[in-house]
């Protein structure tokens, strides 16, 4: 790809220009002083203005499968969350355990993990964290253990499926791995990680969770049936969610990409949502839903794909891949282990989305060393497990963590960076150790 480098302005070395743009963009993103979408788009613009990429090359570098899948799922969730069905499940789960605090903690964590596997993690915690705070207010109990468990559960649950976490969407799209393959290869290990994590949380907080009988009775007064605000819309949403997830599972056999299914599902639900209403109301509803799509995230991805493509064109990433292979001696097991642990530590400290965006071309260029693209599959699982679970290592490890921290702050119980890390980092390392054992036994030995 080196030959495709264009005329870089001022006769500067395109490699250094591209790498500098990437490093500056990543550094400023980490400083969290500016909006990350704005930064990634500025970086993308610089790649083109400086002549590293032509506009055509930049556009070709955008993974529209990732963009389409994210946007489609955002539309579906924006509509279905209006029905109140997610709150219904959260409250029902708290009442099943008769208002017992530890029981509620476990139930809400499991609900969070399952929702996170099928919805975006950020959306999941936006739905569950406020309900959790309502319940802990009713129990008159500190929310920290509940929110802590929820953060970990959302990242563990998100690991399980192709659509659970943005890194998985990117990996699945780049490596052409299906929803079904993710389900069969990653989902089996997540219940074990979840179980071990919950046991550890029991030892940390379990004994300290007490609530009076009056407080428990107050939780039982929550009426989950009142949470459902729109029964017809709920039926439509459940139908579309069912169709979309079934579609994902069988997509590969029909040579369909997940983005086509998600976008089709989104369009179908947009149509059904306002079926039979006057045109003016329909337009109003469409515009409302479109405004709820997180365009900031979408544009962040667009810019990021272009920035990484720019660096990829210079051949630096290929060179890094060769260096990595030299370090691991070209040994497959060592390479897989290195990807897993480096991804985990990196994702705990920096945004895992730009990290994964950079790792994807790096792993792709290892294909000649290990024979073929198919031989790389265990490496993709290592990257997915590391990047998703690594998000649990610190409060800034994943967007969902910060969302929960924001709620905790507003409820008057802020989650401190170091306090969280003290509890979470070890649990994260433990989950990676379990993942490593799993990878070793299943793919490497």
């Amino acid at each position: 790809m080196h030959d495709s480098v264009n005329h870089v302005i001022f006769g500067l070395d395109p490699t250094w220009v591209a790498v500098s743009i990437l490093l500056v963009v990543y550094a400023v993103i980490m400083a969290e002083k500016f909006n990350r979408a704005v930064l990634s788009l500025l970086g993308a613009g610089m790649m083109i203005l400086c002549g590293v990429l032509t506009q055509q090359q930049a556009v070709a570098g955008i993974d529209f499968n990732t963009i389409g899948l994210l946007t489609g799922m955002m539309v579906i969730v924006a509509i279905s969350q209006k029905t109140g069905m997610f709150q219904y499940v959260a409250i029902k789960s708290a009442k099943i355990v008769k208002g017992d605090p530890w029981g509620i903690l476990v139930m809400l964590s499991v609900v969070t993990a399952v929702f996170s596997a099928f919805l975006d993690n950020v959306t999941t915690v936006l739905l569950i964290a406020p309900v959790t705070l309502l319940i802990t207010d009713a129990l008159d109990i500190k929310p920290y253990p509940f929110l802590f468990a929820q953060i970990l559960s959302s990242n563990i649950g998100g690991t399980a499926t192709l659509i659970g976490d943005p890194p998985n969407i990117m990996i699945g799209s780049a490596a052409n791995l299906s929803f079904y393959q993710f389900l069969v290869n990653l989902a089996p290990i997540t219940p074990l990680i979840m179980l071990v994590t919950m046991v550890a949380i029991w030892f940390m907080f379990g004994k300290g969770l007490h609530a009076t009988d009056e407080a428990k009775a107050l939780v039982m007064q929550f009426n989950e049936d009142d949470a459902i605000e729109d029964v017809p819309l709920m039926k439509k949403s459940l139908l579309v969610l069912f169709l979309v997830i079934s579609g994902f599972t069988v997509a590969h056999s029909f040579h369909l990409e997940p983005a086509s299914i998600a976008m089709f599902g989104a369009a179908l639900l947009l149509l059904l949502q306002t079926w039979g209403q006057p045109l003016h109301d329909k337009d109003h509803a469409y515009e409302g839903i479109m405004a709820e799509v997180e365009w900031t995230t979408i544009f962040f991805f667009v810019g990021l794909f272009i920035v990484v493509t720019g660096v990829e064109h210079t051949g630096v990433i290929e060179m890094l891949a060769h260096k990595t292979l030299e370090l691991t001696g070209g040994d497959f097991n060592a390479t897989a282990g290195a990807i897993l642990w480096v991804s985990a530590i990196a994702s705990a400290l920096i945004d895992n989305i730009p990290f994964v965006a950079t790792m994807i071309p790096l792993i792709e260029s290892m294909a000649p060393t290990f024979g073929s693209a198919d031989a790389l599959v265990p490496l993709w699982w290592a990257l997915a497990l590391g990047a998703c679970l690594g998000g649990n290592g610190s409060l800034i490890g994943a967007s969902a963590n910060l969302i929960v921290a924001g709620f905790a702050q507003r409820a008057g119980h802020p989650i401190m960076f170091l306090q969280f890390m003290k509890h979470a980092f070890l649990l994260m390392l433990m989950s990676i150790a379990i993942a490593h054992t799993y990878l070793y036994l299943r793919y490497l030995s």
Binding site: Q81, Q87, Y88, I91, L126, L127, A129, P130, V131, L133, L134, D137, A138, L218, Q221, F222, N223, E224, D225, D226, A227, E229, F407, R410, A411
Partner: protein
């Protein structure tokens, strides 16, 4: 017609260091809907009404999350608990900091548009060029002026 022709000029105001309880008493006893908050130089700092107090009683995670409505939740004593806390606070903690502000020479059309676009109180506060409060225009003042329909006053001569 301009804002200074329809506005109320005799104003009851409150000061930022008064307690919420004191201000609530004034609002209730004199049946006011809103009180402007001004400093010692009569400069407008904000405004309070019953809603600005009530909005501090509802936990923020309910107002700022996906929980826009919570028909399934019991009362939980949250409102009373927060009410007891808030009444000793100073007005400055609960006031609306950006009420609708208009100039004394603004047209009635402009005042009406401002009320509809920005208002949370049904009132626009009329200030001079030093931001000192000189009057209040209520939605009802505008309607009253319109119903009197005196063409010479209505259309700026």
């Amino acid at each position: 017609m301009k804002a200074n022709l329809v506005m109320t000029k005799e104003l009851v105001v409150c000061h930022p260091d008064q307690t919420v309880l004191e201000v609530l008493k004034v609002l209730r006893e004199r049946s006011f809907h809103v009180l402007p908050v001004v400093d010692e130089n009569n400069k407008l700092l904000g405004a309070v009404n019953m809603l600005s107090m009530l909005s501090k009683l509802v936990p923020e995670y309910i107002l700022n999350g996906y929980l826009k409505s919570i028909p399934y939740a019991p009362d939980m004593g949250v409102l009373r608990k927060h009410y007891k806390e808030i009444i000793d606070h100073k007005v400055v903690d609960i006031m609306e900091k950006n009420p609708t502000v208009v100039g004394e020479n603004e047209s009635l059309l402009s005042v009406t548009a401002a009320l509809i676009s920005f208002d949370r109180f049904e009132y626009a506060f009329v200030v001079d060029k030093d931001h000192a409060l000189i009057g209040i225009v209520a939605a009802s003042d505008i309607v009253r002026a319109l119903s009197q329909l005196d063409p010479e006053v209505l259309f700026d001569a």
